[in-house]
Amino acid sequence: MKHTISVLLQNKPGVLSRVTGLFSGRGFNIDSLSVAETLEKDVSCLTLVTHGDEAIIEQITKQLHKLIDVIKVTDMAEHDHVEREMAIIRVKAESNTRAEVLRVIDIFRGKVVDVSPKSYVVEVTGSKTKVQAIIDILRPIGIQEIVRTGAIAITRGKKF
């Protein structure tokens, strides 16, 4: 099963390779990875998506915890959470398809962030399935290039 795991780390040199080295060394999978600073300057948040059975996910969280620079490990599967990915797509947009492309973008609540005579650059965020869906729809029209981020996730606020 897929799991999104959020890891707070001390922002020290080499800390990312400690995490990725752990995954490659122990044969765990990384489906995607995304890292950036948090509000605290010397703390980073790393979100990674992995898959495996329960025992593997348990080992992954325990092994992550064991890294000295790791502050906190949260398996998002155990929490109500919001998860997003983003893709930037340069799609062919010539006179006969420009309108169609815009319509698709609108349906997916994407944004055109760059316009040229023969293409648009489109930005879209959402769940993995949503991002995949727009890609699938734009592909027959002609995707020239695509860049995707890994997932990032946050737990929802308390409802009461």
Binding site: Q10, P13, G14, S17, R18, G21, L22, G25, A55, E58, Q59, K62, Q63, H65, K66, I68, D69, V70, I71
Partner: protein
Amino acid sequence: MKMKGSQAFVKCLEEQGVEVIFGFPGGAVIDLYDELLNADKLTHVLVRHEQAAVHAADAYGRVKGEVGVALVTSGPGATNTVTGIASAYCDSIPMVVFTGQVPTMLIGNDAFQEVDIVGITRPVTKHNYLVKKPEDLIPTIREAFHLARSGRPGPVLVDLPKDVIGAMVSYTEPKPIKMRTYKPTYEPHPGQIEKACKTILKARKPVLYVGGGVINANASQAVTELAKKLDIPVTMTLMGLGGFPGTDQLSMGMLGMHGTYYANMAVANCDLLIAVGARFDDRVTGRIDAFAPNAKVIHVDIDPSSISKNVRVDIPIVADCLHAVTAMNTWFDGSKEFTKKAAKEQHKEWHKQIKEWKNRHPLGYVEESDIIKPQFVVQKLHELTKGDAIITTEVGQNQMWAAQFYHFNKPRHFMTSGGLGVMGYGFPAAIGAQMAAPKQTVIDIAGDGSIQMNIQELATARQYKCPVKIAILNNNYLGMVRQWQELFYDKKYAHTTLDVAPDFVKLAEAYGAVGLRATKPSEVEPVIKEALKTKNTVIMDFVISREEGVYPMVPAGKATTEMLLV
């Protein structure tokens, strides 16, 4: 107080209680070495290969229950430590290794003798550091010692660029270390202790499975108390030997691939397995689904990631062994449900069964009158040292015979490379052990192959007047591999015969040590007695029956009940 980085380095070691360090100099650490000349509280042992420094520090730390320390130069000095560090990592041994590094401004430039040793050792250290700023030097050294000795111990590497060592730093007195991210759990959860104890009370066929964590935690006494209080039979891993007295009635000896028949049978048939500081290694479990198939499992371990890693655990207890077992003892002492007599009665059938297994296949070997059996040598060593020596081993058959036939009664008397299985560990380890316990008899039970991997340390042993004894069980084979070839590869001995071998007696003499040889059983005792009498380093070359095997043996991947017996 302002001082040079190198001076602060020495001061930090002294403040951590370090008395002996093992090392080898080079350009990048020449400042540190210069400073060592002024350090009257520190003894530096100059090894002849950096790997040996690390193994020596490993055993030194194990004997003393402290952090072992090694110091080497950058580049090749650093890379030579990797095997030793990896061994200490696999065996959870507290250690700090200092490596020299090129000056910070050259790092990343492929400078002379530059390697990314922090990168190289990342997967085999508990943690490691590159000290980039002089002001980080002192706090980093202190943190390194703290990490090495606390929680699940392990090796920590500190990489020291030459300019950092040369810079001025300000020394302040040490304070208790607080780390935001690292807080090992020592105290067991009382609820889990109660659950475990109640389960123990119900068990009819319990087994205590004692591992290296018991030695680390100095919990042997507490474990012994628990076993005796409840009349529970005990088995130990290779790393746990000495954690419970090997000659005690309750001891079933070692379990696993080369464990005793009765220990493996007991584990396979028990209804409760109480694992204390052991990590369910594959050498112990054999085929995993056949390991203790009908047992509830209680597991005490300080490292949560050891729990339920290989075997599903019913009652996990994350804690230090000493704290957890003491809490159990206290619980039983205060419990109305528990009486010693009832426990004895409840396990009576079980002990009878174990005794039957023991009688059916005791640990043994076929004796012969004209040829030396390796097991006989180990038995004689045990007898003539009254079971009191510190034993180190190399790797292979020699290691297993040592484990099987030198019945360890005390903790911190057996040093072996268990998890990594490093040939060449035993001799430098013996030197480290001897430096830690100058008055004790220290014996490296060795193979003729392994001993050649760090034989150069004869010079070190001589230089520091370490009267260690090396007992080579000389089969003129890479015997353990040969045994596998005999059993599973149709006796095709591919590259396991050591066709050219040194004359070990002359070799010892070349270094100014003493060489003795026994070729007949009747010579074994005189040779050992002579060696034990000698104040010098001694090699005893025991020419043993060449194709002797280690039995029992569980073939790899088989259930532990599927043993090949003598």
